[in-house]
């Protein structure tokens, strides 16, 4: 399978977010809030990652609130994790959007 994916700061930000909790399933809205990306930007990235076998998708088996329909969940595959580590290592911190010295008073 072709694992190449177009590099962009937004994709890197999404990959970085997944790396924060490697084995946890993530929801679309939570990812959107964490990365600051709108649904129209985030989902094409998730779709491309899934298409290349880098992202696993699943439906929530037991919704937290009764009566609410199950949500779509996402997690990086092993290939995805490898790809994410390479991509985020190559990208400067400023592109990822994380402050380098959080909380340091000048």
């Amino acid at each position: 399978m072709d694992l190449k994916i177009r590099r962009s700061p937004q994709t890197t930000r999404v990959l970085f977010e997944f790396l924060k909790a490697k084995s946890a399933w993530r929801y679309g809205y939570d990812l959107s809030r964490a990365t600051g990306l709108k649904s129209g930007t985030l989902y094409p990235i998730l779709m491309r990652l899934a298409e290349r076998g880098l992202l696993e998708t699943n439906w929530e088996s037991a919704p937290e609130e009764a009566g609410r329909p199950p949500r779509h969940m996402y997690k990086l595959t092993q290939d995805g994790l490898r790809h994410a580590r390479t991509e985020t290592a190559a990208e400067p911190v400023s592109a990822i959007g994380e402050p380098a010295f959080d909380g340091v008073a000048l």
Binding site: S39, T41, H72
Partner: protein
């Protein structure tokens, strides 16, 4: 539920209802998130942001040969080939009027223009005739009445589907498509010359034709993809 929230739910339902088979799961994933977003306006923004999913018109690849009958139905021309008989006539019909124009032409420019347009229509009709869709071999067709015995014989459905895809692909690959396109450009040029610029509106076919060129390539790509997937499934069964 507020009006804004109702709008958000409506938009996301619309997206799910109109998404392609390939992206429906994603559209549903986006729609489910609308229900957990607390702010109404934020939910609306999220739902509107899901609209680009509609642009992805890819179809889900065949998962197994059992899906072939449904794929044949989606192709949409099973058992009926009206275009086999008539499309080329659509191009030859205006040639009659162009011939009449040519007969009544008063000077050389008109004769040259209408002559060119006449040649264009005739060439277009002839190339359409030779490149017309052909009904696949009867022996290839699934056994029995397809509406009554829908999933009866997967083998014959598969043979039919493969033959249909190959026929369509051959048609799009044929150089006659480009002969037809060139002939239509001659028609435009001929009309403009013959009417001394008055029929400039007929030149509108040029941008229409330009836009249609990528569709020919897209059509080829789509058929190639379907055929490759079918071959993959057939190889995996051997």
């Amino acid at each position: 539920m507020s009006l804004v929230r109702r709008g958000a739910v409506g938009v996301s339902r619309f997206v799910v209802g109109h998404a392609s088979a390939f992206s429906r799961e994603w559209a549903e994933g986006l729609a489910r998130e609308v229900e957990v977003i607390a702010g109404d306006w934020e939910a609306l923004g999220w739902a509107v942001g899901s609209l680009p999913v509609l642009l992805d018109r890819r179809e889900a690849p065949l998962a197994s040969l059992a899906e072939v009958p449904a794929a044949v139905r989606r192709l949409g021309s099973f058992g009926r080939y009206p275009e086999e008989k008539a499309t080329w006539l659509v191009f030859l019909y205006p040639a009659i009027f162009m011939g009449e124009n040519l007969l009544h032409a008063t000077h050389t420019q008109q004769r040259a223009g209408y002559g060119l347009a006449l040649c264009g229509w005739v060439a277009s009709g002839i190339s359409s005739y030779f490149n017309r869709p052909r009904r696949p071999d009867r022996a290839m067709r699934p056994i029995g009445d397809w509406t009554l015995f829908y999933p009866r014989d997967i083998g014959s459905w598969t043979r039919y589907y493969k033959s249909e895809l190959e026929t369509r692909l051959d048609r799009l690959r044929s150089p006659l498509i480009w002969v037809n396109a060139f002939a239509l450009l001659c028609v435009c040029a001929g009309l403009i010359i013959g009417s001394e610029g008055y029929a400039l509106a007929n030149a509108s076919i040029v941008p229409v034709f330009t836009i249609s060129v990528p569709f020919v390539f897209y059509g080829r790509w789509r058929l190639r993809r379907r055929l490759d997937r079918l071959n993959e499934l057939l190889v995996s069964l051997e």
